[in-house]
Amino acid sequence: MYSDKVLEHFRNPQNMGEIPNADGVGTVGNPVCGDLMTIYIKIKDNRIDDIKFKTFGCGAAIATSSMTTVLAKGKTIEEAMKITRKDVANQLGGLPPVKMHCSNLAAEGLHKAIEDYQKKVEKK
């Protein structure tokens, strides 16, 4: 059902955890639906210097969260905003069709975290 790449990221999730003084935090999903994820980012010189995630959900939810953080790390804010859920799925060697929409939310979480950062910067 899942590709080897998905299982690899599920088994050894990258960048799992929280960033205590994150510059931006984005949460997407809902425990009622069975998927909830939070992305934390630290920005330095307009780049994603550090990124971490926490996810409640199925194997696909955990693997896509992990892959999203891998893709985003080191990217500029503009580049990171362009990462789509399709990119994440492609990098994982594809996802089962039903998982494309319900569990592949991490790219949105990343965008939300960046927007959160941008709002904080504007306020300053």
């Binding site: 899942y2 599920f10 009622v32 069975g34 926490k54 996810t55 959900g57 955990i62 039903v98 319900c102």
Partner: protein, 392 residues
């Protein structure tokens, strides 16, 4: 790595004696019982002997057994066949909120065709509320369809009490006994059951075969029309190897039931206690005592069932879950919702169904790996309270 199968409600291996008895019916004994030459007689005799074998598992008479393609067809035949045949008597059908989809969906279909349907709620252990049955049933009720024991949460229902209420209004009682048969003694005469569905694979027989017990005198019509086999109630050339296999499986089940159920109950209780004692915020789903001998259903707060199953799979264990992520509908199990669990708790359920191949060392193995798996997933989850991560 040797796999440990703890998902017997999804699939069981066929008993070697069953395979052995089936084999000749694929080749030299390939007769069709509708023919009148000797191979036809041989096939006819094989079916009639098989009827006797299946009947004896549930205390029925052999002429009260109809063979089908499986429990889904048996449930459909019972529900649709009785409802349509008795429509002149009434149009009200009763069932419960924890039935199998092969009961719920025929009832939904009949609801669209003008029948009225009522679903009796269950309490937090999954036991059908008898008071609501009494209040819901009326003179217009023609059929009640109730599960003997739910295969997902293991709860055994008060069938005899339900039977008394249903028959006080002269309605028919159909019982889905797929999960219960072969695990606990069933007697259709003592329980006064009118129709009862059985699955072959659940008795360690071949897939693609099932049976429906229909009490003599029950008014029912077919749902499949054709050459008139099985007293006209199930047309189509009989699946002789499957039928012979199912009967052998039923016979072995009857013989071994007491010992095997006692053995499984001990393993089940070790697994339940072992999990609840070592993993914080884990809870048993289903009834603590009125429970199928093979059923362990636990929910773990803050994590999701599919990731539990994947993690167990990576360590050689097959299990199941009521999580939406493991279903085709993306909804969590209706059974877990019916016992009152909120969605997020239903997602975190893990189902082990034990069976003939399981030994104590399998249980010990699961108990040795599960706390670590739960801890890892809880560490990844944003829902887990910090205090829980610190002290486990």
């Amino acid at each position: 790595m040797q796999r440990i199968h703890l998902d017997h409600s999804s699939s069981k291996s066929i008993h070697p004696q069953v395979i052995k008895i089936m084999m000749p019916y694929f080749s030299q004994k390939h007769g069709n019982p509708s023919t009148i030459y000797s191979q036809g007689h041989e096939a006819k005799e094989a079916i009639e002997d098989a009827r006797e074998g299946v009947a004896s598992l549930i205390g029925a008479k052999s002429n009260e057994i109809i063979f089908t393609s499986g429990a889904t067809e048996s449930n459909n035949l019972a529900i649709r066949g009785v409802s349509y045949r008795n429509r002149t008597k009434g149009d009200h059908l009763i069932s419960s909120t924890i039935e199998h989809m092969s009961v719920i969906n025929p009832l939904k279909y009949l609801g669209k065709k003008g029948f009225k349907t009522s679903y009796i709620p269950v309490d937090r252990y999954g036991t059908i509320d008898l008071e609501v049955v009494k209040k819901t049933i009326d003179n217009n009720t023609i059929l009640a369809s109730v599960i003997y024991a739910n295969g997902e949460i293991g709860t055994i229902e008060p069938i005899r009490e339900i039977s008394e209420i249903v028959h006080s209004k002269n309605a028919y009682l159909h019982v889905d006994a797929v999960a219960a048969a072969g695990q606990i003694p069933i007697d259709v005469k003592k329980d006064n059951i009118d129709l009862l569905s059985l699955s072959s694979n659940d008795l360690y027989g071949p897939k693609g075969v099932g049976a429906l017990y229909i009490k003599e005198g029950t008014r029912i019509q077919p749902i499949i029309y054709g050459g008139g086999q099985e007293k006209g109630l199930r047309s189509g050339s009989e699946n002789i190897p499957g039928i012979v296999g199912m009967a052998k499986a039923a016979e072995i089940s009857s013989r071994n039931m007491n010992n095997e159920s006692r053995r499984l109950r001990a393993l089940r209780d070790n697994l339940i206690t072992g999990i609840l004692d070592t993993i914080k915020e884990s809870y048993l789903n289903g009834h603590p005592t009125m429970r199928l001998p093979n059923n362990v259903n636990i929910r773990f707060k803050y994590i999701e069932g599919e990731s539990l199953i994947l993690s167990l799979d990576m360590e050689g264990v097959s299990a199941s879950s009521g999580s939406a992520c493991t279903s085709k509908t993306l909804e969590p199990s209706h059974v877990l919702r019916a016992i009152g669990l909120p969605h997020e708790d239903a997602h975190g359920s893990l189902l082990f169904t034990l069976g003939s191949g399981n030994e104590e060392e399998d249980i010990n193995y699961v108990l040795s790996i599960l706390p670590r798996i739960v801890k890892k997933l809880r560490k990844i989850s944003p829902l887990t309270p910090k205090s829980l991560l610190e002290d486990t």
